[in-house]
């Protein structure tokens, strides 16, 4: 029995699992310590989880667009965070204009939709132009080459928008209708957070429907599967890829507006860290897998919110929130050790409708 088991796993696997087990043991030990110390009440834990879910929804929103492009082109679009930023940052000017006329709070829904339209227009344009200039000419090149142009484009866009709109901290106007909190099933939840969580679910479902059920979505999956074959079947590959980028840009803009509602502040550098987090979330969930990206985002958000208090506190580490990225990435390693292709497994194209 044991020998057979050992045969199935080679030494590397064993060492890997050992490392995984040590990490897991640390996590469990830390959690146990914290929980048994009774430092935080049940209510506080619930707060942690809700805050984490809200933050995770933002990651998920960005990750959806990310994973879409990623699933079709297998390309790490480092500039996705900047696509996210560009629309939101531009729509800010509409928002303060509307606010100055009083329209913003009189008709909050129309206002937000207007801001969304502007953001989508800008982000989509940027995404498409980016594809045309920086990625399309390199489609045949080794995969690392477009990665570098994406990095370059990311810097370029950051500093372009910083030059255009200035480097000060810009703050979206408050939406009075979204102030305060709702009480849902006895759980106190901030309105903005509830809206963001719901919006991310809607966006995920919509994108998935688009990709799985519509003709354009089928074309996308065909291209993801095999560009050459897709071209032979009469699919305009360039067009499909542009569509994908446009869709990714639009969803990034939607994420951006949600972000602006919940966090208010916008600036030219706001996209970089969420971009990386979204990348992490996408990988965590399984590359190219839309529900996976959603799940990855939520998981990441919750780990960041809960992890420091739950695990690090128990291990006696001071100022644990400083290390939230460390614990998030450790959890990522842990997940990938036991599930090497992400939580949900990968790839848009494998899922046959």
């Amino acid at each position: 029995m044991l020998r057979n088991l050992l045969k199935k796993y080679d030494t590397t696997d064993l060492v890997m699992y050992l490392i995984g087990a040590v990490l897991a043991a640390l996590v469990i030990y830390g959690s146990y310590q914290t929980l048994s110390s009774g430092k935080y009440s049940g209510e506080v834990w619930l707060d942690f989880i809700i805050f984490g879910l809200a933050q995770g929804s933002i990651y998920a929103l960005i990750a959806l667009g990310y994973t879409l492009v990623y699933g079709i082109l297998f390309m790490i679009n480092f500039a996705h965070g900047e696509v996210f930023m560009s629309g939101t940052f531009t729509a800010y000017f509409l928002a303060i204009y509307l606010d100055s006329t009083g329209f913003w709070n009189q008709h909050p829904i129309i206002s937000i939709l207007l801001a969304l339209v502007v953001a989508v227009a800008v982000s989509t344009t940027i995404a498409v132009v980016l594809e045309r200039i920086a990625y399309r000419p390199l489609r045949g090149a080794p995969r690392l080459v477009p990665l570098i142009t994406a990095i370059g484009a990311s810097f370029f866009l950051q500093y372009t928008f910083r030059g255009l709109y200035g480097s000060g901290v810009k703050t979206y106007p408050d939406v009075d209708a979204l102030k305060g909190s709702w009480n849902i099933f006895g759980i106190e939840i901030l309105k903005t957070q509830a809206v963001v969580i719901v919006a991310s679910v809607i966006l995920m479902v919509a994108l998935r429907f688009y990709v799985q059920k519509t003709k354009a979505g089928r074309a996308m999956r065909a291209v993801a599967e095999d560009k050459e074959a897709a071209a032979l079947m009469g699919i305009d590959v360039d067009r499909v890829i542009v569509n994908t980028f446009a869709l990714g840009g639009a969803s990034a803009a939607a994420a951006g507006i949600m972000y602006a509602l919940i966090f208010k502040q916008v600036n030219a550098f706001m996209g970089f860290i969420p971009g990386i987090k979204a990348f992490t979330a996408a990988v965590l969930g399984g590359i190219g897998n839309l529900p996976g990206a959603m799940l990855g985002g939520l998981f990441l958000g919750v780990v960041e919110s809960l992890g420091p208090s739950l695990v690090l506190d128990g291990l006696g580490i001071p100022a644990p929130y400083q290390l939230k990225d460390a614990i998030a990435f450790l959890m990522l390693v842990l997940v990938l050790i036991f599930r090497p292709s992400g939580i949900m497994g990968e790839n848009l194209s494998e899922k046959k409708a």
Partner: protein, 571 residues
């Protein structure tokens, strides 16, 4: 193919709009205004104006490219239309900016910018006309340059570039050689207080022309095929010879250049060492590592902890004694990172390594380890290395440390590449499964790649620590990893000379551009994109990589079939 197509009005206008977007961009991003005081030619042309003039010129040039030699007149005509559109768009900005306050949105649409766009005209109407007509004239000029015989064309372009480059370099030259007696007459001759003197313009232009003519002449000479007939041995001698030559050059370089250029070279050198190391991981073995900065940080921190004489002092070793430990600890860290990622491929590997880099940084920054490594306050008072009485203190002296480091690392990398393990790496890079089937021990091979790369980064970090004299966790962020990765790809992945060129391009150039302060990163980003578009295979591609690229033709569908593996197989 597209060149034969006859240009249409639509094309011309389209080009004009692109030019217009460019001029709007440089204006609204603030570059025109920021560089308005920066004279290229004394009292005549500022860098800011140049940025406005270049788009219509380029548009005209490209417009003319689309016609063939028979249609010169139409080429010029189309060019002028493009320029007209470009100028009109700029004029629109001027009119709009004068009429309403664009500044609520575009922070740089300031009165000063509008003032610059007026080009000294009194009334808006005249200024508008000047912009539109000026745009057209400039693109006609561009078109004329394009349509002139190749020899003259390249001569003009080379001359103009020479003038621009020398104009930009004034400050740098003065800082570098300002104290030298031999330089002052040259400076007086070439430059006024700000910008080139007219004599300087003429001389540099002629110099540019001369270079271009010389290059044309040597290119037209029949190419000798000697290279091909050379024996392997001779090739080797040539190689060694050129390296020796390079070494000598490097030795006298810092003394000749003085502190600031030496400082730049040191920074470049530190990245070269890292680049050679990452090249082994990414270029040879095909393992995409986005967290390479971790090992750099570890090397620096080990040296810091072991040598510092400040408040965190421990053993207060000399740098030389601490160095092997720095390298060793980094190497171990490489192995430790290597184990959990052994089975991961492609982008999973990328994100996990990225995470590792971040973990190291935040842990270094944390309050948790503050009593040992200083947290946010860093480690201060890291001593300089010393041999007898010779202290490696100033940039000129640190340079030798860096140069020796590069020498060692490059030598090891060369040897490894040609050794058995080098071939194993290559096999791994091409196809992991096949490599395994061929009897290559994947575990050892991968771990060796990680360990070697990490050790090099550790060495680099050790030099970095002593060069700075203090270590702060903020020096070790993701940008460093990105920078190193970019430079090896820009240089040509897998190629060691490529690392040198890449480092000069991506580290040296931005350092030289330091005076462009705010716009440095903007230029850097644009540079990355443009370089990759122009030379996707890198500046000095490695032989096999190049062969792969050309063999497969333009479109590489194969890479897309396997969703996870491509990052590995296609590097």
């Amino acid at each position: 193919m597209t060149q034969e197509k006859k240009p249409t009005w639509k094309d011309a206008i389209q080009l004009g709009v692109i030019g217009g977007v460019l001029v709007l961009f440089v204006s609204l991003v603030g570059m025109v205004q920021a560089f308005d005081g920066r004279y290229i030619i004394s009292e005549t042309l500022t860098l800011g104006q140049l940025l406005l003039f270049l788009p219509p010129l380029i548009v005209g040039y490209i417009s003319a490219t689309r016609t063939d030699a028979q249609h010169r007149v139409s080429g010029i005509l189309f060019g002028s239309v493009s320029g007209l559109v470009t100028g009109a768009i700029l004029a629109a900005l001027l009119l709009l900016g004068s009429a309403i306050n664009l500044r609520a949105m575009f922070i740089n649409a300031s009165p000063e910018l509008m003032d610059i766009l007026m080009f000294g005209q009194e009334t808006l109407a005249v200024a508008t006309a000047v912009l539109v007509i000026g745009g057209a004239l400039l693109s006609v000029l561009g078109a004329v340059i394009r349509l002139s015989p190749p020899l003259i064309r390249s001569a003009i372009l080379s001359g103009v570039s020479a003038v621009i480059i020398m104009g930009i370099m004034q400050e740098l030259l003065k800082i570098t050689f300002g104290g030298r007696d031999w330089y002052m007459p040259i400076d007086d001759f070439l430059y006024e207080q700000k910008g080139l003197s007219w004599m300087g313009v003429v001389v540099t232009f002629l110099l540019g022309v001369a270079i271009s003519l010389w290059r044309a002449r040597s290119a037209s000479r029949p190419k000798k095929t000697v290279v091909k007939t050379r024996s392997r041995e001779r090739q080797r001698y040539v190689q060694i010879g050129s390296f020796v030559l390079g070494a000598i050059l490097l030795l006298i370089l810092p003394q000749f250049l003085g502190p600031y250029p030496s400082e730049i070279l040191n920074t470049v050198g530190i990245y070269v060492i890292m680049g050679i190391g990452l090249n082994i991981v990414v270029g040879y073995a095909g393992l995409l590592d986005l967290g390479y900065v971790a090992f750099f940080a570890i090397g620096a921190y080990v040296v810091g902890v072991l040598t510092t004489t400040g408040s965190l002092a421990t053993v207060m070793w000399s740098w030389w004694l601490a160095l092997p430990f720095a390298v060793l600890v980094s190497l171990l860290a490489g192995v430790i990172l290597g184990i959990p990622v052994l089975k991961m491929r492609g982008d999973y590997l990328a994100i996990v390594t990225l995470g590792f880099g971040e973990i190291i940084r935040v842990v270094a920054l944390s309050n948790w380890l503050k009593p040992y490594i200083g947290g946010a306050q860093g480690i201060l008072q890291v001593p300089k290395p010393q041999i007898g009485d010779f202290v490696f203190k100033d940039p000129e002296q640190i340079f030798y440390l860096v140069a020796i480091g590069i020498g060692i690392v490059a030598f090891v990398a060369f040897r490894l590449r040609d050794a058995r393990v080098g071939r194993a790496w290559k096999a791994l890079r091409e196809d992991e499964d096949v490599a395994e089937a061929m009897g290559i021990n994947l575990v050892n091979t991968k771990l060796l790649a990680f360990a070697t790369g990490a050790a090099f980064a550790g060495l680099s970090g050790a030099i970095f620590a002593t060069k700075l004299g203090s270590i702060f966790p903020h020096s070790f962020n993701l940008i460093v990893s990105i920078n190193v990765l970019s430079l090896i790809i820009v240089g040509g992945i897998g190629s060691i000379p490529g690392v040198l060129v890449g480092a000069f391009m991506l580290v040296g150039l931005p350092e030289l551009l330091r005076e462009f302060a705010d716009y440095r990163m903007l230029m850097y980003g644009a540079l990355l994109v443009v370089m990759m578009l122009v030379k996707p295979e890198g500046f000095i591609p490695e032989k096999t990589h190049k062969a792969e690229l050309t063999d497969r033709g333009d479109v590489d569908f194969d890479s897309e079939i396997e969703p996870i593996a491509p990052a590995i197989t296609e590097i």
